[in-house]
């Protein structure tokens, strides 16, 4: 059955309309004028009963094409009250070729069939044309016009409602925030996501201008956007900001995009926008950046490590060379020098008769120089050997050290009739060889710079001060002006000409180095002509100096 037109049956006006439509369908189906009238009358009869005693009445005009025959069919549907008769139906039955009455629930359906001439050709195209004809049929009366408009509006509103529901469902199902703003930046619409995520309502967001939602560090930028750019903006705006996820109390990075919506005249109407969670992306970005920086630092570290290793290597190498030099100085340089001393003496002693006075003087000078050089080499060797690599800490009895030193200077002590008074000295943790050197150098110094008219007297004592042992070496020698103190402990600094007092200028520098190696200190007190006291303080538990 092909539906052609529809007429609701509610009042007298509808009845006229039903009649007219039926006439028209019969006409375009090629029926004669009398046949048209007969069909329309039959429809009117039934329709009148429906208007009088039925509810939800309507007429549907159809075309039926079965294998043998073609009909125009008027189908009148209603919910008819049983107590009101269908007087018209009886009459109508006689007017049509065929009829059919059926009931479905409370609804009754009456179909009236009227033959279309078999010679009259009907195809799909024709049916479409007819349908179009009825749809465009000009209104027969202002009433019909109104009715038709109403129907159209109703349909349209249904459609709009349907599409709006679809749209809402769609926006709500998207994993992003969608919204629209008016020109003052007030939210007009937003999908559920914004409400769910922010824990705010559109009203509250509008009221606090998103202040509770946007991170305080990003809020100023956001506010500029909301208050200035939106009012006069013409192009889409993008902004990255941290937004508060109410459920977790966490601020997550989001990308805001808003686009102006303009009407046909190019006038700004409102803004539409969406907000996407870019937190993961941002974190990856930052991690990558951190990673890059880390790698850079790593590379720098590696490079500096490598150069440090090179320095250490270089240092070790030069240290080794220095040690080699020390060995050469100790052995290979000292030995030939000793020979030089010995043989020049041999010449002076054994060949004095064949060498004249000048020659002897030259030989003596040569011998003296060689001797001085020998001492210098010896001291340089000692100086270079005092380093923390070689330090060997043990319990050292300083009494033993002092007595050994006395033995070593026995000849000089006897010769100068010197007195060495050794007090009670402690046992300390120190390097034995270095302590020996320290004592020897200070004692040697005192013996060397003694007064010619006075027997040298040296007092060695110790006392405890805080965590230190302070050793004192007091003599009755020449003394010195204290302004030379710093100079005295620096290597190769001498206060006297070597003709006056032989020496290398390294003795006290060696002492200072030894004291420092033991985390100790050395200093002296003196007045010129009144003797000198040298002090060495050493920690009770000496640690190797790093």
């Amino acid at each position: 059955m092909h539906e052609m037109a529809k007429v609701t049956l509610e009042n007298e006006m509808d009845l006229i309309l039903a009649h007219k439509r039926s006439m028209k369908l019969a006409e375009i189906a090629g029926l004669s004028l009398s046949a048209q009238t007969t069909f329309a009358t039959a429809v009117s009869e039934v329709a009148r009963n429906t208007i009088d005693g039925g509810k939800s009445g309507r007429l549907i005009l159809n075309v039926e094409i079965d294998q043998r025959d073609k009909y125009i069919v008027a189908c009148i549907k209603d919910e008819h009250a049983h107590n009101i008769s269908r007087a018209g139906l009886e009459y109508a039955k006689k007017l049509v070729n065929k009829y059919n009455i059926s009931t479905k629930g409370t609804e009754t359906s009456i179909e009236l069939f009227y033959y279309i001439s078999p010679t009259f050709k009907i195809d799909i195209q024709k049916l479409d044309e007819w349908r179009l004809f009825f749809r465009n049929e000009p209104p027969i009366s202002p009433y019909e016009e109104l009715k038709r408009k109403n129907e159209q509006l109703q349909k349209l509103s249904e459609k709009v409602q349907k599409s709006e529901t679809q749209f809402k469902t769609l926006t709500n199902s998207l994993p992003l925030i969608i919204f629209s703003l008016d020109l003052e930046g007030q939210l007009l619409y937003s999908n559920e996501w914004l409400i769910k995520y922010s824990g705010e309502t559109i009203e509250s967001l509008n009221k606090n201008r998103w202040k509770t939602f946007v991170h305080e560090d990003d809020y100023n930028t956001f506010l500029v956007l909301l208050e200035n750019k939106i009012g006069n903006g013409k192009i889409a705006i993008r902004l990255q900001a941290r937004l508060l996820d109410k459920a977790n109390g966490e601020y997550l990075w989001h990308q805001l995009s808003i686009t102006p919506y303009k009407d046909d005249n190019g006038l700004l109407q409102y803004w539409t926008g969406f907000i996407v969670d870019i937190h993961a992306q941002k974190i990856v970005e930052e991690t990558l950046k951190d990673n890059r920086e880390l790698k850079q630092i790593q590379t720098q570290l590696k490079e500096s490590q490598q150069s440090q290793e090179r320095y250490i290597e270089e240092l070790n190498r030069s240290n080794q060379e220095l040690q080699q030099f020390a060995f050469i100085a100790s052995h290979d340089l000292q030995e030939p020098l000793r020979k030089l001393v010995y043989y020049s003496d041999y010449l002076i002693n054994q060949y004095s008769s064949s060498i004249n006075e000048n020659g002897i003087e030259c030989l003596t000078k040569m011998q003296n120089s060689a001797n001085r050089m020998r001492m210098l080499i010896k001291d340089i060797l000692i100086f270079s050997q005092i380093d923390k690599e070689r330090i060997n800490l043990n319990d050292v009895d300083l009494n033993m050290i002092a007595h050994h030193a006395r033995q070593d200077f026995e000849l000089v002590i006897d010769e100068k009739k010197a007195i060495l008074i050794i007090g009670d000295l402690p046992v300390i943790k120190a390097d034995e060889r270095m302590m020996m050197q320290l004592f020897e150098n200070i004692i040697s110094n005192s013996l060397k710079y003694s007064k010619k008219n006075l027997y040298p007297e040296i007092h060695i004592n110790s006392r405890v001060k805080d965590d230190c042992i302070v050793l004192s070496f007091k003599d009755n020698g020449l003394g010195f002006d204290e302004k030379y103190l710093t100079q005295m402990f620096t290597h190769f600094q001498r206060l006297h000409n070597y003709i006056e007092f032989e020496g290398t200028g390294l003795g006290l520098a060696i002492c200072r180095k030894i004291a420092e190696m033991h985390n100790g200190k050395i200093w002296a007190e003196s007045k010129e002509g009144e003797g000198a006291t040298f002090y060495v303080s050493l920690p009770t538990y000496s640690n190797v100096h790093n």
Partner: protein
């Protein structure tokens, strides 16, 4: 009568010559034998029994290649055949700690190498004394 023999163990030929000359000057009949290091000295002592028979003194340098003075001293004192022969350490070094170490190891004494002719003669005289034979001339000093 056995010839008195002194063994000088020193890698420096000049030093050997200086002290040998000084000894010869004082006592020409003393036989002087030398070895350039401890290893050779030990070999000589082990393989030449006649050397050992007349050996009165060993003069031992400290700083030598292959087998140094301290090592040689220990080897000598550990061996029953040689332990009685007096050993004098003869070195440039004047470190008293080293001196004491050598004495502990069994050295008879410790002599610093001479820097003058007089010194060399005086040292030679001391060595001859240790050999328990009378000196031919009067020692200087």
């Amino acid at each position: 009568m056995n010839t008195v023999t002194i063994l000088i163990v020193d890698d420096d030929p000049d030093d050997v010559l200086i002290i040998a000359d000084a000894i010869k000057e004082l006592h020409p009949s003393i036989q002087i034998v030398s070895a350039v290091n401890g290893e050779i000295a030990m070999e000589m002592l082990t393989n030449h029994s006649d050397l050992k028979a007349g050996l009165s003194l060993i003069i031992l340098d400290l700083n030598m290649p292959r087998m140094n003075g301290t090592q040689t001293l220990m080897a000598l004192k550990e061996n029953q055949k040689f332990e009685k022969i007096p050993v004098v350490i003869y070195s440039t070094s004047v470190n008293s700690l080293e001196k004491e170490k050598c004495l502990t190891l069994g050295a008879h004494s410790y002599i610093t190498k001479p820097l003058s002719y007089k010194e060399s003669i005086s040292i030679a005289g001391y060595f001859i004394q240790l050999c328990n034979i009378p000196s031919l001339i009067n020692l200087p000093g």
